[in-house]
Symmetry: C2
Subunit: 282 residues, 2 copies
């Protein structure tokens, strides 16, 4: 047990991040919850955890730039990724009937994502709390009649709640992409490793905005027949008309063709930072 991987995540036990962590490093890892992403990153920096798992984008809510910023400010690299389908469930104490539910606790983002369900059941009052898994813990501790929570199936299991309705979210195309982050010298890898055999490399490019500057940088990848799986501009605050670009390419920096393309991109851009190369299930 003493050599179990210590993985930090944000949220309460049962949070979606913990599910993602289990898929990335195995459920026998030692999971360490943190209240904030800042504290989570700091714990790895101080060596109190071996790695951490950070949500980085969601199909409905977009890229979580704040976590990109924390990654850039840290010494960590991306060593793995996974996409988690976000399924929301109505959870209550065992024995509670669906028709008895009068108050539903959850994080406001989860409540909003179940807006149609809640409008269809106007007898259920939505009550915001900090955390989806924390909402399950709360109703299981209180054991008040007619109370329920909206959270994941692992949260229901962890706290002994009964699932009264599943997949109650408005939009089933709700996926969150998580990064597994570790110090560059670390040997932490996703376990099991994705079977695709494909690797991704995530980059941050900074480019002065002259018309066509991005076009020239992308030309390097196009000529090398390197595929892009993500591109996203982000204005650089305080520098109007300069941009940072988050770019994911298919390939490993250890491959010569990728390394050579990166060298050429560095010449075309003001800067190019490799955030990590990692196996992908895509």
């Amino acid at each position: 047990m003493s050599d179990a991987v210590r993985v930090a995540y944000q949220g309460e036990p049962g949070a979606f991040s913990q599910t993602a962590a289990g898929r990335l490093v195995g459920d026998d890892a030692r999971m360490i919850p943190f209240r904030s992403f800042e504290e989570m990153f700091e714990s790895v920096g101080r060596g109190e955890a071996d790695c951490c798992v950070a949500p980085i984008e969601n199909t409905l809510a977009g890229s979580i730039h704040r976590n990109y910023d924390l990654l850039l400010a840290s010494e960590l690299s991306i060593v793995g990724e996974m996409n988690l389908r976000i399924v929301h469930n109505l959870i209550a104490t065992p024995g509670t009937a669906f028709t008895d539910v009068r108050r539903v606790y959850s994080h406001p983002v989860a409540l909003a994502q179940c807006g149609r369900f809640l409008r269809q059941h106007p007898q259920m009052e939505a009550v915001p709390v900090h955390d989806t898994a924390g909402a399950v813990r709360l109703i299981m501790e209180r054991r008040e009649q007619g109370e329920a929570a909206i959270a994941s199936e692992p949260a229901a299991k962890l706290y002994g709640g009964a699932i009264l309705a599943t997949a109650i979210e408005d939009d089933p195309q709700n996926y969150t992409r998580f990064f597994l982050l570790a110090p560059p010298q670390s040997s932490i890898r996703p376990s099991p490793e994705p079977e695709s055999g494909r690797w991704k490399t995530s980059l941050l490019l900074q480019i002065a905005n002259k018309p066509g500057s991005l076009y020239r940088a992308l030309g390097v990848f196009a000529l090398a027949e390197i595929d892009l799986s993500k591109i996203e501009s982000r204005p650089i605050v305080g520098k109007p008309w300069e941009y940072a670009f988050y770019i994911d390419i298919i390939g490993d920096v250890a491959e010569e063709s990728v390394a050579k393309a990166l060298e050429q991109v560095r010449a075309a851009a003001d800067s190019a930072t490799v955030l990590g190369s990692y196996p992908t299930s895509w």
Copy 2:
């Protein structure tokens, strides 16, 4: 009064969206609050409002894809945009001393954005609620000792709260970009119109993922010396390896060079949808 513009927004009176609406169409517009973005879009579709104001991206939290989806599903066009600096304030009933504050109500996203402030003042318990402006209304109605809210200055003014501390957010580079959306035949325009004289056009491109396909589409803009101010890929759910791209270019579709470039892009991409052309302050 009867011909005042009716503008729909999401949130309670005093919400950041209402401030954005005031800047976009003037404070004499008739502001109509909605609980959800769905209901807000529907109200314009049914003609109960002339236009609506939707947050579309935030410098920390990224693009709000859900609102892009609602825009695409609607018949509305983008007719204006604005960037609002998000400043969080600690607000209490007049007469409350800073050192007396024990409970702080706000939306969990706002509470998270003020994480450092709250950690520095551990005597203040953070309590999540649905809405920042609603938190101010709540504490002003309750008038319990030691209670405060985190919200905007307009929310403090609207409900008569006193600002005990201002700009308490961790990261001052917190801006939200709002779109002004109206039916295509509408005459609604930002008022006052931005002085830059510059226009933007927002596009959605769909491109099959062959290496270099995005490169070829961007080549059209590069050759026409049309500047990009945003590019963001979004995987098309259910179609692995096909992408949608949100692209903002500088220029008005009414300009011949822009219209011609769009024609060429349409030939290179699977589809290109114009979401709107609108004056910008950039």
